[in-house]
């Protein structure tokens, strides 16, 4: 039963990783941009939620009503002002600029909030659990996180498959110049993609803040797990990102079951194994190309 428990908890943990990784996956899928500041932006969202909670006296989930639009706006301006000029000049400029952005965000957070670890208080939800069998219980918070991750990914998938904006995202991913020739303003489109990505990062950041404590320096670890989830699932595939998160989560909890010190290590080992055996990821779409 302890193994079943480890797998179930791992799946739910995977939902959390997938939720953080969603925005990374979307931005890479649309414009082949690897945002190294992604983890720090999720921490920024958690701190923004902390401020909103403090100012307005809301609960952390109600604070999403402010933080999600705020991060959407930040995403649009970030892409339009800083990231668009780095595109189309090879691999290095976006990596350097987002790496610099990562450091800037961390230091601004240090200035504004100090180096203390903080948390968002969601009351009883944090500890309440649901007994599936007498031996197996799952926490409401991990369950809710997983459901929200599936809903966010499903919503994005619908947007990409069924709407005119989604078709434009996919067209621009295929061929940006041809997209301009059918009348798509790719700079505006990319800004919308990053805005949507950071809106999902806002949701992820609030769940992160409720689940665990966070400090200004916590971003890079979040980026690492998100990056692993995206790579395991297959670059640019949204459902693949969910699977990748789940594989990573299960690897960590099962690893911890074998030896409590092995949780993070086991996740990295599975990631390396996927890179070695199937570098394109487990769930690459038939049409996904470099």
């Amino acid at each position: 039963m302890t193994w079943v428990n480890a797998v179930v908890q791992g799946v739910l943990l995977g939902g959390f990783y997938a939720l953080i990784a969603t925005g990374l996956s979307l931005v890479f899928g649309v414009m082949r941009l690897v945002n190294l500041a992604h983890g720090d932006l999720s921490i920024l969202a958690a701190f923004l939620a902390l401020t909103v909670v403090g100012l307005l006296g809301l609960g952390p989930f109600a604070a999403l009503a402010v933080v999600v639009p705020l991060m959407f706006g930040i995403g649009y301006l970030l892409q339009r002002g800083l990231l668009n000029p780095t595109l189309g000049r090879g691999v290095l400029p976006p990596v350097l600029v987002t790496f610099g952005l990562s450091i800037i965000v961390q230091n601004l957070l240090l200035l504004a909030y100090s180096a203390d670890s903080r948390g968002l208080d969601a009351g009883r939800l944090e500890t309440a659990s649901l007994a599936l069998t007498p031996q197996l219980a799952v926490g409401w918070l991990p369950l809710l996180t997983f459901v929200v991750a599936v809903a966010v990914l499903g919503g994005l998938q619908l947007l990409l498959r069924r709407t005119q904006l989604g078709r434009a995202f996919r067209a621009a991913a295929d061929d940006p110049e041809a997209a301009a020739l059918v009348g798509i303003d790719t700079r505006h489109l990319y800004a919308l993609a990053t805005a949507i990505a950071l809106a999902t990062v806002a949701i992820a950041g609030v769940f992160l803040g409720v689940r665990t404590t966070f400090a200004p320096s916590a971003g890079p670890v979040r980026l690492l797990f998100a990056f692993e989830a995206v790579i395991i699932g297959g670059l640019g595939s949204l459902w693949g990102t969910l699977i990748g998160g789940v594989v990573l989560g299960v690897a960590q909890t099962v690893g911890a079951q074998i030896n409590p010190g092995w949780d993070v290590l086991a996740g990295h080992l599975v990631f390396l194994a996927v890179l070695a055996l199937k570098p394109s990821g487990l769930f690459t779409r038939g049409t996904a190309r470099a």
């Binding site: 009348g183 790719t186 049409t287």
Partner: protein, 236 residues
């Protein structure tokens, strides 16, 4: 409207140090079909790219429906009614045939016209049969039909066709050109780049021959002799 729909004046165009166009002037009237012929490297595709906004002009002007558009990016020119069917088709590989057409409506810019899914499927019935297939899975001729259909979905006032016949079997080329009268009948102006002079003469009202980046010959398709065209084409 008085004056030509499209007017290019003294256009110079460069790729880095290489100059591809030297003072090219061209005017196309509303409803006209004009063909640009010339050898490889004569600057035909460069001229179309400059009109569509993919390449900046080093000097000169592009006026469309009386307005200067030379400084506008490609997507803004689509909204004004200039659609380029690019060389190599450039179909969105991971979108289905129907999605490729639907994404073509992005550049409508509020215009309403006769082109929609039903009209394009009527023009190219083979696309209707393949509407759920991925763009990447189509043959060259099917992709060319799709590229033309995608451009029409924006209800353009001017369609620029670049090397429609490139790499296609003669029978397929014939089918594609057979669709042109239906396009012009809807009031759309067509500017086509073509290496095959016979095909160009059959399809166009007027012919423009480029030689090494300069206009070597211009005139009504019916009034030009073979010798004149051959001379301009090869610079004899």
């Amino acid at each position: 409207m008085t004056g030509p729909l499209l007017e290019v004046a003294r256009a110079d165009c460069r790729y880095g140090d290489f100059q591809a166009l030297f003072g090219v002037s061209l005017s196309v009237a509303q409803g006209e079909t004009v063909a640009i012929v010339g050898a490889n490297g004569a600057g035909k595709s460069t001229l179309l790219k400059a009109i569509a906004g993919l390449l900046p002009l080093a000097s000169g002007t592009v006026r469309f429906a009386g307005d200067e558009v030379g400084g506008l990016p490609a997507h803004r020119r689509v909204a004004l009614g200039i659609s380029l069917v690019p060389e190599g088709r450039r179909i969105f590989a991971s979108l289905t045939v129907e999605e490729n057409l639907l994404v073509g409506t992005y550049g409508r810019g509020g215009r309403t016209g006769r082109w929609d899914l039903a009209a394009v499927y009527e023009l190219f019935p083979l696309l209707a049969d393949r509407r759920g297939r991925m763009g990447a899975s189509l043959s060259g001729g099917e992709q060319q039909a799709l590229a033309i259909g995608r451009a029409l979905m924006a209800d353009p006032r001017l369609v620029l066709l670049d090397e429609v016949s490139l790499g296609l079997a003669p029978v397929v080329v014939k089918q594609l050109y057979a669709a042109l009268p239906a396009v012009t009948a809807a009031g759309t102006t067509v500017l086509v780049v073509e290496q095959n002079v016979d095909q160009a003469l059959a399809a166009a009202d007027r012919l423009l021959c480029l030689l090494e980046g300069r206009v070597a010959l211009e005139g009504p398709a019916a009034g030009l002799t073979r010798e004149e065209i051959r001379g301009a084409y090869f610079g004899l």
